[in-house]
Symmetry: C2
Subunit: 342 residues, 2 copies
Amino acid sequence: MARVEHPGGGRASTLSDVAKLAGVSIATASKAINGRDEVAPATRRRVLEAAEQISFTPNQLARSLLAGRTGTVGLLTSDLEGRFVIPILMGAEDAFGAGQVNVFLCDARGDAIREQHHLKALLNRRVDGIIVVGRQTDPRPSLGHDLPVPVVYAYAPSDDPADLSITPDNRAGGRLAVEHLVSCGRSRIAHITGDPAYAAAQDRLLGVRDGLRAAGLELVGEPMFSEWSEHWGRDATAMLLAQHPEVDGIVCGSDQIARGVLDTLRDLGRSVPEDVAVIGYDNWEVLATNSRPELTSIDANLQQLGRTAAKRVFTALDDELRSGTEYQPVRLVIRGSTIPRR
Amino acid sequence: MARVEHPGGGRASTLSDVAKLAGVSIATASKAINGRDEVAPATRRRVLEAAEQISFTPNQLARSLLAGRTGTVGLLTSDLEGRFVIPILMGAEDAFGAGQVNVFLCDARGDAIREQHHLKALLNRRVDGIIVVGRQTDPRPSLGHDLPVPVVYAYAPSDDPADLSITPDNRAGGRLAVEHLVSCGRSRIAHITGDPAYAAAQDRLLGVRDGLRAAGLELVGEPMFSEWSEHWGRDATAMLLAQHPEVDGIVCGSDQIARGVLDTLRDLGRSVPEDVAVIGYDNWEVLATNSRPELTSIDANLQQLGRTAAKRVFTALDDELRSGTEYQPVRLVIRGSTIPRR
DNA sequence: TAACGTGCCGAAAAGCATTTCGGAATTTTC
DNA sequence: GAAAATTCCGAAATGCTTTTCGGCACGTTA
């Protein structure tokens, strides 16, 4: 036993150690420690002191084995950056007290085989549920229905409507962005976004059109699709200004694109937000708070999303898991790129 | 039992189900499945078929309880961004086959109390070891020595030399940066970095001085300390050029700072890398590959670091855990900010 | 005083897989 | 054909905790 090497630890103490030390049976020790009331106060005190003395902590493995519940969830992700999964993880931890529930994080790296491996490992470890996190909001293949635990899809919904998915409301986000620009007095609004094959691009565009229609406006030019990069933001802005110099507001499909937009606007001598207001998407802090000016953006409330996902998993243990896609509200974070600061 | 709600799963099948179906004892079934050789080929086939039929997978809880090893590690982090912890997690997963080892990820959010909670929970779950990940390379408080499992500190070393810590070799990184600039023909090199209270800033500066000394050069001006932000990079560059217009190379303490440096150089009409070569630190892809030009940077090899940390944890199960701080080599990633592309 | 409650405690089962060891059945050897 | 040696299988213990239920001792009531 290697454990012996680690001083102070030795073999972790067990309930029977406590019982022996306190001079009671194992059953009584258990009851005393767990606050059951079939034990005399004096006995309880003796047991608790003994437990304290040898710093006993119950073995969760044995507990889980008996209870049939482990208090763990698997988080199966293919989000290499960790940009989505970390807030979701934090939300899941929050949904219960810290330390109540523990999360196995598995990174499938976009590989279906690796995903299967991880899935199997998680099931063997008897997780109480699984949260699947994708890095796009496009539907992803379902893990299937013949699983012994509830599965919730977060961020990327499942392609099977019988699964439960929780995804940010991109359409509402697009609309929110436009409404904000309109309320800032802008009326000639363009939209520069990423790869049109992404549902996120299409959904946000729908929202942008909703917002414009509600304000009685039309989009300046066509929506500009390409890739989710600063490079494209820069190039697109140059093209946009050449064709539509009258533009006074730009809704961007991501913060990265918005950074590129800001760069080119600056290069071409347009001041932000005075001449052109710019709004990003994702509220990726490191990008949004370091730009000139700082970037107003739409935040997907990922932590809230993680909390919801975890709650759904655990309520599904007692009830039936619902199905369908829940759209999580998003929120606007206002910074200097739409409203002048000081 | 809520499990019954989830079709196909039902109650997970146990070894005794398999044994009953195959018409053998539990012991025989176990041996057949685990490839032990005290079982007749025909019997083994029957058992395997039965296991397949009811899709049996052994309960890791029971297994771990018996073996005294769980095949899990706890990753205790306070890295809210996940920028460090995700590569380290991936490295830890890699160190063994996917699915061999699973990782409990706990985010303490920089709160010592929450950290203690998580630590206790991890120990109760009988993890085989713990990797502590910090978000700075400054020494952090030790978790102590009276723990029943080995602990390895990754990225942020422990303040107790009796612990094992694995941290990137910042000094070598600073030196590497200068050597690269020198090999690009630069001789008037300045250094803009972050908060001087950070060990990372001090260590990288030491390396920068090493490199300069080796090349027979001196730093242009004093090293410029402030914060790890783009803002500071921009401001510092303006100051630097005003005082030392002859500068032809800038080593930055982070990629964020470097982004700011690039911005100001561009604003002031200096071309990169022709007039001034710039090198960042951290190789944070989203920043480094989206700048104009793309940013040469020092990569801390975090995935390798995670692999090493996980290996140390598991070899410590059989042997004694070594102690002290291991410095992990870093590497140079060359992009357009030091060498013209195309 | 006999019958009955009540309050505490302990033996034992359950949860699941692994491993040891004894024993039954078969084959080999003399 | 009997004794010895294999070969294969199964009962039971192990790991640790929780929970049920039987029982002991004490005090209470008719």
